[in-house]
Symmetry: C2
Subunit: 348 residues, 2 copies
């Protein structure tokens, strides 16, 4: 014969770890739970008198709203996952900064995910973070596994893909025409009269945006009747040291190189600093151009010519596009080209 079951109100979970709930606040304030919920979330629907009582009870009891329960009840949280390929590259750091600042000011929280340039890892990460019923998602880049694209499209909530612009994106896209940006620097070097122009990068097997810029670079050179195949790369992550190394490798392999288009400013800066140490005069002996627009570029000797990518603004804009969608506004186009600009300085 079955043992006697506990009465409903005797059957409690998590014995011994009681936290103040909205129910407690309601009892303390002498109102219904839904009135407490309204006082906190839509105060304009509650009379001043009751609002004051609720606020007093919240303070007195030290109540912290359980956003998990609220999220379950309302089918969503104020969390926004931001998925980037790397947290050790300044590009993404500044973008995250722009996103985080904008979202936090709007009362949202950023859930940070890093894929290490692995699309399978990205797919698993997306599945994981969607479990938190976020309000929207911000992804980096347009390259994903088909499963990821299908999942996010089917999900039906706002998705922003940032960094490079493309013609096929899940929901919204903000960034720059990365190939054009590469072509811009290549054109600049050609117009400056350099003839033996190399492209130097690292980790380009994973960083397809750098590959796009190299392809554009190559096209510009070949259209100008120059050799576009001068490519030097290794598998290291981008760093000053990697820039230093690949710079020396390139000059040793091809001493007649008269200009170098670096895949990014970290590499270019590493090269310029090494050139300074070795007495290689930039741009007299070899011109150097970069990509990104790191603030360091303005302080080097010589100051670095670079293509400036508006990273912080990209983050801000991605967040704003998402927030507008969430608020039912359509202030932004679905695809926003932030543009880049060529900062011509002393190194070319």
């Amino acid at each position: 014969m079955p043992s006697e079951k506990l009465a409903n109100r005797e059957r409690r979970r998590h014995q011994g770890e009681h936290r103040v709930t909205l129910e407690d606040v309601a009892r303390h304030a002498g109102v219904a739970p839904i009135t407490v919920s309204r006082a906190l979330n839509t105060p304009e629907k509650v009379s001043t008198k009751l609002r004051d009582r609720v606020d007093q009870a919240v303070k007195t009891l030290g109540y912290v709203p359980n956003l998990i329960a609220g999220g379950l009840a309302s089918a969503g949280t104020r969390v926004i996952p931001v998925v980037v390929p790397s947290l050790s590259i300044l590009t993404f750091i500044e973008v995250i900064h722009g996103i985080q600042q904008t979202l936090e000011n709007a009362g949202y929280q950023v859930l940070l995910g890093s894929t290490d340039y692995d699309l399978n890892r990205e797919a698993a990460l997306v599945d994981s973070v969607l479990g938190y019923s976020p309000s929207g998602v911000i992804m980096t880049g347009l390259h994903h596994r088909d499963t990821t694209i299908d999942r996010l499209r089917a999900w039906g909530r706002p998705v922003v893909e940032l960094m490079e612009l493309g013609t096929s994106y899940i929901d919204m896209n903000v960034g720059v025409e990365t190939s054009e940006a590469g072509a811009c620097m290549a054109s600049h070097l050609v117009e400056r009269g350099y003839r033996r122009i190399a492209f130097l990068g690292t980790g380009m097997d994973r960083d397809y945006r750098a590959r796009y810029r190299y392809h554009a670079h190559r096209e510009v050179l070949e259209r100008a009747g120059l050799d576009g195949s001068l490519l030097f790369q290794n598998d290291e992550p981008a760093s000053y040291e990697a820039g230093r190394r690949v710079f020396l490798e390139a000059l040793e392999a091809q001493p007649d190189i008269d200009a170098i288009h670096f895949a990014n400013d970290n590499l270019a800066a590493g090269a310029i600093m090494e050139a300074n140490r070795q007495g290689i005069r930039v741009p007299d002996e070899v011109a150097i151009g970069g990509y990104l627009g790191l603030s360091l570029a303005e302080h080097l000797t010589p100051r670095l010519t670079t293509v400036v990518l508006p990273r912080f603004e990209m983050g801000v804009r991605a967040a704003e596009m998402l927030l507008d969608r969430l608020a039912g506004r359509e202030r932004h186009a679905q695809r926003v080209d932030l543009g880049y600009r060529l900062a011509v300085r002393e190194s070319t």
Copy 2:
């Protein structure tokens, strides 16, 4: 007379937005919902046969676990808020990187919060993120509002405070003795024979760790019979440009300064690069020391002498301490001194 109420099963929320639930998976696999939950979360408690059926159903239906509901049911999520004062300062970026990589590899997600050095904002942020029933929290620094300290202590889950070490911390503390680190550089400069040593910083009204290092610097100098009051600062955030500016201000105000202790490497690097442009020979005319250990320090000409703070490792360690606590292990002490090291290079 009251209108007829909907039957319970006819009364549904969120009409028109059905997502696959664990219940659907259970029906499809022909098992109870709790068996699906077990298959996904504790598979060793489910027979192979049923596990396979569940996995198949998950794939077929494209089920994504609702972590909100799971979090409510189990009184917690696998989210870890990480609260830092700024996302534009490399120090914290590298720490976040260490945290995020370690937590993500352990199946946790980082919720990113930034306080902009405002303790009131920090208090509000803490209240907000606790609402997600996180497993633990990582804070930056030991200075908080009393309300924040009380709240986190009462919360009763793991809390790690990182960056500087102290004697009073909420739960766990990992970092370095920041005053000693400041004293270390000051001692080095004194031992090198410099007599007119200035301390240069920015934003020190907010950055109390920099103030601690200055106080320690001052003590070392005065104990050596030197003038410890040579302090130059402004209110800008730390940047190469700020470093450049405050460097020129200091030299103009006190041309006899023969060494400078910078509050961080960004400032020091800005100064070195400006010195290069203006033909000021470092360390011959003025020695320069920094704090942090930025990788840039090794590439400047002259290479920067600095106190290296293990930032990435600090992040990794903070995350590991939290994870150990969550797993019921006690591999780490509650207070971990990571130590710093003085990297003596060419600039002193």
